[in-house]
């Protein structure tokens, strides 16, 4: 057994962990990141395959929002090419959702009568600017108070799926509008020109430049605690075992895994109950296809009226480096009927078939042929998100100085990558505040004084 010492131990190099790591490394803390797999980034990484730069999860990256803010704060390079205005395919018509009048023009394209549109628009305006819907009502039930028009419901459906990775009948109306309030105009997105791995790598560089360490192929086997205070963690790297002593441990493994690594018996029963009752991972399907010719001119389109696929991306229209010369990368995102259907062979096959049917319905010329690169499913311990929107765990655990980051501890109004980054920033802020009691980074302090952070 060898010993290592750090101020902050981050378990998992996903974007949540890397956000905290980069921020605190820059402050001068000794940061140690342990990643069990061979590559950093988790679900925000690049999978190079047959000359294509596929994604391990994240593709559309929010621009002019909190993700960019983090990169500015840490001085990391934010290399994201903006994708432009969101394009929606509604009733066979492709239209742009311009800011301001966007929602109205989308609803008009559905062919719904003016009365219904006005009713829902004014209800929306009230929900966002005056009073949020009552708790417990789903977005679906909320819409149906005003209209049953299937086209209108479909517009909300694609918005809910794109933004929150759930369907209208699965998300609380209150949460949906909280999200709209939070993102305001900042829901523009773009693609990393060389693949999504550029984001965690840029943050990783900040960690390394500031004296931190990032170990890949390093599996944490146990988080050590003493009298309810975290002490560090044991990790195995190759054939060797290490003990990393740390003041603070930040887990980016998902709240359930954090408990597993620490030992259930060390947690209060109320926390375990909350974990059990709340945490339910979302499922997403991501198909990645290589194309000789692009299917359409734009770099993306959000689909209404399809069975499963809600978004098609062709990032190579503006980021040609993601595919071999002259080729294009098509990425289709879909929400399966339920997470459970993906547990059976039959269910998985049906869901994937429905996705291809959806693409064919819009582009009859599209053939499955041999161009399918990857059919990726995201669920359970490798999910779309570790928790449903609005069903998140807190960033703090009952163990003192043990935090969670990631999409299982999202703040209300945040979703996806921005939520992950937000959690990382919040945890970094909390740690700074606690450490400030000892006048800054523990590494440069009297070790006697800072040995117990309670």
């Amino acid at each position: 057994m060898r010993n290592k010492k750090a101020d902050i131990l981050v378990i998992g190099s996903g974007m949540g962990g890397m956000s905290t790591a980069a921020l605190l490394a820059r402050d001068g803390y000794r940061v140690f990141v342990a990643e069990k797999t061979a590559r950093i980034g988790g679900r925000c990484s690049t999978l190079e395959y047959k000359g294509y730069k596929c994604t391990s999860g994240v593709l559309a990256v929010e621009v002019n929002g909190i993700v960019q803010e983090l990169f500015e704060q840490t001085g990391a390079t934010f290399d994201v090419v903006p994708a432009g205005t969101s394009m929606f395919l509604i009733d066979g018509k492709l239209l742009a959702a311009n800011r301001g009048s966007g929602m109205k023009s989308l609803l008009e394209a559905t062919g719904a009568d003016q009365g219904s549109i006005e009713k829902i628009m004014s209800a929306m305006s009230r929900a966002i600017n005056w009073k949020e819907p009552s708790p417990g009502i789903t977005l679906d039930s909320w819409i149906r108070q005003y209209t049953d028009h299937p086209g209108i419901i479909e517009v909300f459906q694609v918005l809910a799926k794109t933004a929150l990775m759930v369907k209208v009948d699965e998300v609380a109306a209150r949460y949906f509008f909280k999200f709209i309030q939070t993102v305001k105009g900042a829901n523009e997105f773009g693609y990393c020109s060389g693949g999504s791995a550029a984001l965690p790598e840029a943050l990783g560089r900040v960690v390394l430049q500031n004296g931190g360490e990032i170990w890949t192929d390093s599996r944490v086997t146990r988080i050590a605690t003493e009298d309810g205070v975290v002490q560090g963690a044991f990790l195995s790297h190759g054939e060797r075992e290490f003990y990393v002593e740390a003041q603070v441990v930040v887990s980016d493994t998902g709240p359930k895994k954090t408990v597993e690594l620490t030992g259930e018996q060390r947690f209060d029963a109320d926390y375990l109950q909350e974990l059990e009752s709340k945490l339910n991972p979302t499922a997403v399907i991501c198909l990645q296809v290589g194309l000789d010719e692009p299917l359409f001119e734009q770099n993306h389109m959000l689909l209404t009226g399809s069975k499963r696929v809600y978004a098609l991306y062709q990032p190579t229209i503006i980021c040609p480096d993601l595919a071999p010369k002259g080729k294009h990368l098509l990425i289709a995102n879909a929400i399966p009927e339920t997470s459970e259907v993906l547990t059976s062979e039959e269910g998985r096959q049906r869901e994937i078939d429905l996705c291809f049917e959806d693409i064919k319905a819009v582009f009859p010329g599209f053939t499955k042929s041999n161009s399918v690169l990857l059919t990726g499913l995201y669920r359970d311990f490798w999910p779309g998100m570790h928790s449903w929107p609005g069903k998140d765990m807190p960033i703090k655990t009952p163990i003192i100085n043990l935090y969670n980051v990631g999409d299982g501890v999202k703040q209300s109004g945040y979703s996806g990558l921005p939520a992950v980054v937000k959690s990382g920033m919040l945890v970094a802020g909390e740690i700074r505040q606690r450490m400030a009691v000892f006048n800054g980074p523990v590494g440069v302090q009297d070790p006697e004084k800072s040995s117990h952070l309670i």
Partner: protein, 76 residues
């Protein structure tokens, strides 16, 4: 021999991209072709859900015997 635990595999296809000899396909769940697999263990290093494990040759040899025994038992 490479073994994929069906209860742990999410079907994310990360291992497909890591395999240097294209021995893995993932039509919703990862499957290894043992005839192509060189047991380089690259897939083990990238699996995010710890679904992939390596059977040592001794264990792998025992398995067919165990299966044959089981079949015999059930046949009776």
């Amino acid at each position: 021999m490479i073994r994929i635990d069906q209860t742990l595999c999410a079907g994310c296809a990360t291992c497909v991209t890591a395999c240097p000899v294209e021995a893995i396909v993932c039509p919703g769940m990862a499957v290894v072709d043992p005839d192509i697999c060189t047991e380089c263990l690259e897939c083990l290093d990238v699996c995010p859900t710890d679904a992939i494990s390596h059977w040592e040759p001794e264990t792998a040899r025992v398995q067919p015997v165990a299966i044959a025994l089981l079949k015999e038992t059930y046949a009776k």
